[in-house]
């Protein structure tokens, strides 16, 4: 399998990588062999040597999505009364929609790049005629809100206190998540990976959770197990009592700040 020669840097994101794998294997988009594509996808991720964490989070999120779809595909859809659920949507449906949608904009990007571009394919006059260069005041030059914000931002950098209350980007940190996972694991034999998420969890939290999980594995505080049959991920505590560590995980040293 030459998927090992694939470099993540060549892809703008997990959807791009998936599109590539699907095309390379000449798979049918409406009937993606999910087990096979998941295996190939994970193989690519595994062979990544240098991990740009910012990007990796999203590639890992897709890995989790694929594993989740895979497990749902294997699980027979049983309704309450025991009958086969017929209206159940194909677990792959959303992924297929996203891939097709992404492909549309990927194509649009190519088309955009093919348009004759100013200062690449054609040139306008750089300076107005001397007669025109004359200080005068007419309409306002187009200035965006961005310019306004940037001016304000610059002021904040120089004098942070007065307007600082406007910035309150309170988001879940990796260190917080590590503590939460360790707390959840306390006294447990194992914990399903999917149980770490609530239904309304944000994308940011998913990524943070993934990073937290990776960190816990690296710190040898948690083992990850994948059940043969359903492919779901289970977390098991590697040590009986993860004492002390849940309180003083230093974000700086983790490098996720």
């Amino acid at each position: 399998m030459d998927s090992f020669s694939v470099h993540l840097d060549n892809f703008t994101g997990p959807l791009d990588l998936l599109l590539h794998l699907i095309r390379k294997n000449e798979m049918e988009i409406t009937d993606i062999p999910i087990a096979e594509i998941t295996a190939q996808y994970l193989a690519v991720i595994d062979t990544m040597q240098t991990l740009n964490l910012d990007v990796a989070g999203e590639f890992l999120l897709m890995a989790a999505t694929l594993l989740h779809i895979k497990s749902r595909m294997l699980l027979p859809q049983i309704a309450e009364d025991g009958a086969e659920e017929e209206d159940e949507e194909d677990p792959r449906a959303e992924l297929v929609r996203r891939l097709l949608e992404y492909q549309k904009y990927k194509d649009a990007a190519v088309q955009l790049d093919e348009l004759p571009q100013l200062n690449r394919n054609l040139y306008a006059r750089s300076a107005p005629a001397p007669e025109v260069v004359e200080e005068g005041e007419g309409e306002f030059a187009a200035v965006g809100l961005y310019d306004l914000l940037q001016a304000l931002q610059q002021l904040l950098v120089e004098r942070p206190e007065p307007l600082a209350h406007e910035i309150s980007a309170e988001q879940l940190s990796v260190a917080d998540r590590i503590s939460q996972i360790l707390t959840a694991l306390q006294g447990q034999q194992s914990l399903a990976f999917t149980d770490l998420f609530s239904a309304q969890i944000s994308r940011h939290e998913v990524v943070v959770t993934f990073l937290a999980m990776l960190e816990l594995v690296k710190l040898r505080l948690v083992h990850l197990l994948q059940s043969q049959r359903f492919g779901a991920i289970w977390l098991t505590p590697a040590v009986a009592e993860p004492t002390g560590l849940d309180s003083d995980v230093d974000e700086e040293t983790l490098g996720y700040v």
């Binding site: 649009a108 790049d113 571009q117 394919n121 054609l122 306008a124 809100l145």
Partner: protein, 190 residues
């Protein structure tokens, strides 16, 4: 009418950006229809005569620009360096262009990756702007393209964007070559 042609040419030549038809009419103190006639006549002239430039309708106005076939030589002059778009930048720009007004969250859902830094660069380059806030919880900023975006890609308006292809299946690699088509052209003067 015919005696207006050199004058309109001079104005187009001397302007520092695309000139709107109504602005030309104002400066010349003539009716808009007269201006349009002259502009059409000039357009035809530049197409039929062997000229170095042509009249492009762009960003709601008209601008003289050098013919694309001379691009290699103009690059050698080394005057203005072209933007070299990365693939993430082009993807993000395409999404903003076609989906505007669009939030960062929507862009990131479509691309599957964080797009904050790409978005910031596009804002810095004045190709994307903040239009305002979306009236949903959290009031996220909504983004759209700028006049400079239209000027850069030589578009009259947003309706002139290439038609989006709807895909019902995956394109083959031949239809849409991953890298070759998307990578910016090499622009160095060698």
């Amino acid at each position: 009418m015919s005696d207006l042609k050199p004058l309109v040419e001079a104005l187009l030549f001397g302007a520092d950006g695309p000139l709107r038809g109504d602005r030309l009419a104002e400066v010349l103190e003539v009716e808009g229809v007269v201006v349009n006639e002259v502009l059409r006549a000039l357009q035809t002239e530049y197409e039929t005569q062997p000229r170095g430039f042509f009249l492009q309708e762009v960003a709601g106005g008209y601008q003289l620009r050098t013919r694309p076939e001379f691009a290699d030589y103009l690059r050698r002059l080394g005057r203005t360096r072209p933007f070299k778009f990365s693939r993430p930048a082009l993807e993000t720009l395409a999404i903003v262009a076609y989906r505007q007004p669009v939030t960062r969250t929507e862009i990131e859902y479509l691309r599957g990756v964080d797009s904050g830094s790409v978005l910031k660069t596009l804002l810095d380059k004045h190709l994307v702007r903040i239009l305002g806030k979306k009236d949903v919880p959290g009031k996220p900023a909504i983004y759209g393209t700028t006049r400079e975006f239209l000027e850069l890609f030589g578009l009259v308006d947003l309706a002139a964007l290439p038609t989006l292809k709807e895909f019902s299946e995956l394109a083959t690699d031949a239809d849409m070559d991953e890298s070759a088509a998307v990578l910016p052209r090499e622009v160095s003067g060698d």
